[in-house]
């Protein structure tokens, strides 16, 4: 089965690497991993590229993760692409807000590859 194209959005390059590694450790085959340091950069990346999965932090400079999800529908390439939030913000209010903005999953840092698998694999619907 072909791997997926993913976009990882986090202002920490170290955390982007950890998320990518966790996806691979979770058994998700990745054909291409694109990166962005904030929501605005991510929107630019998506205008030029198609992905099947987006993993996104919430607290980022320039444009945070919640605003990014709200603007996602304005990018033709990104319509219907599932977004999973990965963040230190763990309150119910943040979870509800993220889900109501359109996120399909929510993972709290620190996390394990098993938690990534639990939240990401079901929403890929067999693509991985």
């Amino acid at each position: 089965m072909n791997g997926i194209h993913a976009l990882i959005v986090d202002d920490s390059s170290v955390m982007r690497k950890i998320v990518e590694r966790s996806l691979r450790q979770a058994g998700i085959e990745l054909t291409q991993v694109l990166e962005a340091g904030n929501g605005a950069e991510a929107l630019c990346v998506l205008k030029e590229n198609r992905v099947e999965l987006i993993l996104c932090d919430i607290n980022m400079p320039v444009m945070d993760g919640l605003e990014f999800i709200k603007q996602l529908s304005s990018v033709e390439n990104a319509k219907g692409v599932p977004v999973v939030m990965i963040t230190t913000e763990g309150s119910e209010a943040h979870v509800v807000q993220a889900l109501s903005c359109g996120a399909r999953g929510y993972i709290r840092k620190p996390f394990t590859p098993d938690q990534v698998k639990e939240h990401v694999v079901p929403i890929l619907g067999g693509k991985s």
Binding site: N59, T87, T88, G90, E92, T112
Partner: protein, 162 residues
């Protein structure tokens, strides 16, 4: 293990009960994200902890959470997070240490009832060197946990303003 921010505030700022939560928050971050166990530091360490990462807290709880270690520990943390040899990490060290501090702060506040909703975290700041003085608006005795990371001392502190 959970505590309540209101209980601590009602106790006139007696936050000492949060020390085990601070330690647990740090242990979980190192175990899950770096794949290693922190162990208690049984003797006072005189080593120079010359790399400091700080995250500010604002809202129901105001203060600064800091993580201090030496340069070798900081490089090893980055190496474990990136999955590369310690000798091969460079500018990522500050990024890694900031993220560790950020995750400890987030994990800590999520363990205190009422705090995860009403307390915001700043972006991390990392300082290298010891020739600086730090003045914070904290007005109550701070919490500090000293642990060993791969045999090397680290200190995690929380300065609180009531």
């Amino acid at each position: 293990m959970r505590s309540s921010v209101n209980e601590a505030l009602a106790a006139n700022g007696q936050h000492e009960a949060w020390t085990p939560l601070l330690e647990l928050a740090a242990r979980e971050v190192f175990e899950l994200m770096l794949g290693c166990q922190l162990v208690p530091s049984t003797t006072p360490e005189e080593a120079s902890l010359d790399v400091t990462s700080m995250v500010g807290l604002a809202g129901k709880l105001c203060g600064v959470l800091s993580l201090r270690c030496d340069g070798k520990s900081a490089a090893l943390m980055a190496s474990k997070m990136l999955g590369v040899e310690a000798e091969k990490v460079g500018p990522e060290i500050s990024d890694a240490l900031g993220e560790v501090c950020n995750m400890i702060a987030g994990n800590f506040k999520n363990k205190i009832s009422g705090l995860s909703e009403g307390c915001m975290l700043s972006v991390p700041t990392v300082i290298t060197g010891t020739d600086y003085s730090l003045h914070s608006q904290a007005d109550s005795p701070g919490l500090e946990v000293r642990l060993l990371f791969e045999g090397m001392p680290i200190a995690i502190s929380l300065q609180i303003r009531r």
